[in-house]
């Protein structure tokens, strides 16, 4: 690719992009090698084994059965329920995590007192051990828990929250509580990095606060939004740890996640089923991330950063 520069007197100079020298090529892969080799051994190669497993009937017989494991899985109601629940959870929790943390970042950007203390408070959930989180969520949402006492006080009827249709909501709250702080910090620093002159020009052109937010800030934030969305997506899968400790192997229907399915399949040593499920999940992830990147590229196309 050639870059075109224009000199003062109007001449155009074409500069061919320098190809990397041999030494640079060596450096490029020398720096990457430790990580790539490790990733190969511990993640990529085993993944091929998983692909192999997904195509055979069982480990002893090892007869190739094509896509049978996949079709069986797609007719497995436990898998379908788990996939649906996981997708619903992520589809609710991730956008909420992005939007609420952005709102919090905008609020903390204002000149309110004790900003740095607030920041610390919002980050504090990161350091609470999972086990205490689980304890406290039990104390709050148990059938005899604190929330139900409040409900009773106002004349409502107590519900066993984790055994009800609200169970996903309880987990969404847990997820948000845990992750909003860091997301918020990511947004705060991104808001800080927006060039001030752009905003000043907008103010002079009498753009309203909302217009500034929509047309300027959001544009500059687009790459951070993608970043926060990806981080939230990872963390939305990690919330399984808490769900599992709260409710065990077979929780209420609505809480039965893909991870439960995989955990139980792992325990029953059904590698074929497990491998097929892992591959389907990997494919879905590729599509989701690809879509996120595409949207980000399109939306943030005319700002750098």
């Amino acid at each position: 690719m050639a870059k075109v520069f224009t000199t003062d007197d109007g001449k155009e100079i074409k500069v061919k992009k320098r190809h990397h020298s041999k030494n640079e090529k060596i450096a490029e892969y020398a720096f990457l090698a430790p990580s790539l080799i490790g990733l190969m051994i511990f993640f990529i190669l085993p993944f091929f084994v998983i692909i192999y497993y997904s195509g055979i009937d069982n480990i002893v017989n090892a007869e190739f059965v094509g896509l049978d494991n996949f079709t069986a899985l797609l007719h497995n109601s436990a898998f379908l329920d788990a996939a649906k629940n996981t997708a619903t959870f992520s589809a609710i929790a991730v956008p909420l995590a992005v939007v609420i943390s952005l709102i919090m970042a905008v609020i903390l950007e204002k000149e309110i007192p004790m900003r740095s203390q607030f920041r610390t408070f919002f980050l504090s959930p990161m350091m609470v051990p999972v086990a205490s989180v689980v304890l406290i969520w039990q104390v709050l949402f148990d059938h005899h828990g604190v929330i139900n006492e409040v409900v009773n006080f106002f004349g409502g009827t107590a519900t066993d929250w984790l055994e009800s249709d609200y169970s996903q909501l309880v987990i969404v709250i847990l997820f948000l509580w845990k992750n909003l702080g860091y997301n918020m910090i990511l947004f705060m620093s991104a808001l800080n990095a927006i060039p001030k002159d752009v905003l000043e020009v907008a103010t002079l052109d009498s753009a309203s606060v909302l217009q500034q937010f929509r047309y300027i800030k959001l544009r500059y934030l687009s790459s951070t939004i993608l970043f926060v969305a990806i981080m939230s997506l990872i963390n939305s899968f990690k919330v399984f740890r808490e769900v599992y400790l709260l409710t065990g192997d077979y929780p209420y229907d609505k809480l039965y996640m893909l991870q439960h399915f995989m955990n139980n399949t792992f325990q029953s040593l059904n590698y074929q089923k497990l491998s097929a499920a892992a591959i389907i999940m990997a494919l879905v992830m590729c599509v989701v991330i690809g879509a996120l990147f595409y949207v980000e590229n399109w939306y943030g196309r005319d700002v750098e950063g």
Binding site: P34, L39, M127, A131, I136, S189, A190, V209
Partner: protein, 335 residues
């Protein structure tokens, strides 16, 4: 700025009306400004209240854990007995009491009597807790150190040498990063089996050290270093290693600290990996142990959790600024 602008505009409007004297105009403008000042203050008060509400609910579990660790076993079972099925001591002749100590749950932040009895139990009477604590340390510290170190090289490569093939590779890192444990656990288990490191700490440390999470994060941050800086060093004849050591790593000090903190928090709380990789419970970290003492010794759980939180709190107190500044580059570096 916004506000002043509008006041200016309104002044002009006022001036167009012939009946008002200059004094009156000044008075009206002043009144207007005061009104706006009050409005602004009100807005800040409301925002502060919202932030305060959020902050209290966020801080509550931390405070609750610490506060409850100073309560006696009796007080804890009185408060939460209903939830964790702890019954009254059976009365004479009765085989098992089905009566709860208290029918309601009490969320208490201030102990009736501050006692260190739980801590005494944990620290003096049962040394296994300290052993598990040490187990956590020797698992997590190498993971954090090596993951960040290895990722730094990869991040540098992804920052300096970009191209179609590299972007595809980077995308692959992201996909593997997003794979939930339950997916990567099987591959990791298989590899650990092949390498013969199953039931040793390496089966947890090695996959941890090569986990793609840090690579993604550090690349994100390193790419913010302006190309011009690196090109300049290049022109001065610096080698790639020198650029890496003298420019990229020092400029990424904040991000390195913040990534290290995130990785630490993640592995400090690991539960799944040790259960699957280490059949010998003697080697399990405290996080696994902690998740198992839920119902039996609920009183102890809070004290152990608080002790377990200490390194996290220390890291947090010293590292919070890194966590925050790590992500924001100011001064000449684009964000």
């Amino acid at each position: 700025m916004d506000m002043e602008n509008e006041i200016l505009e309104e002044n002009i409007e006022v001036e167009n009306e012939p009946k008002l004297s200059p004094e009156e105009i000044r008075r009206i403008a002043l009144k207007d400004r005061k009104k706006r000042g009050v409005k602004k203050k009100l807005k800040i008060v409301i925002l502060t209240i919202i932030a305060l509400l959020f902050a209290t609910s966020f801080l509550m579990p931390t405070v609750l854990t610490i506060a409850n660790s100073f309560m006696s076993a009796n007080e804890i079972s009185t408060n939460y007995g209903v939830i964790f099925n702890q019954f009254k001591e059976p009365e004479w002749g009765e085989r098992k009491s089905t009566e709860y100590i208290s029918e309601t749950v009490n969320l208490k932040f201030i102990p009736d009597m501050v006692t260190f009895s739980q801590y005494a139990t944990v620290l003096l009477k049962s040394p296994e807790y300290l052993l598990k604590f040490w187990n956590s340390v020797i698992l997590v510290v190498p993971i954090v150190f090596f993951q960040v170190l290895i990722a730094l090289g990869a991040a540098y490569s992804f920052t300096r040498f970009r191209g179609k093939r590299k972007e595809v590779l980077f995308f692959m890192y992201i996909v593997f990063m997003l794979m939930p444990y339950q997916v990567t656990l099987v591959p990791n288990y298989l590899v650990a089996d092949w390498l013969g490191i199953l039931d040793t700490r390496w089966s947890i440390i090695l996959p941890g050290a090569f986990a793609p999470f840090s690579v993604y994060l550090l690349t994100k941050f390193m790419r913010r270093i302006p190309d011009s800086l690196i090109e300049a060093a290049k022109l001065d004849g610096a080698s790639e290693w020198q650029i890496f050591k003298k420019i990229a790593v020092p400029l990424c000090k904040g991000p390195i600290a913040s990534v290290a903190i995130l990785v630490f928090f993640d592995y400090w709380n690991m539960v799944e990996q040790p259960i699957i990789m280490l059949s010998d419970q003697e080697m399990h970290p405290l996080s696994v142990f902690l998740s198992k003492i839920n119902t039996g010794e609920i009183g102890l759980a809070f004290a152990v959790a608080t002790i377990y939180m200490i390194p996290a709190i220390l890291i947090f107190l010293y590292g919070e600024d890194y966590l925050v500044e790590g992500i924001s580059y100011q001064g000449g570096v684009k964000g």
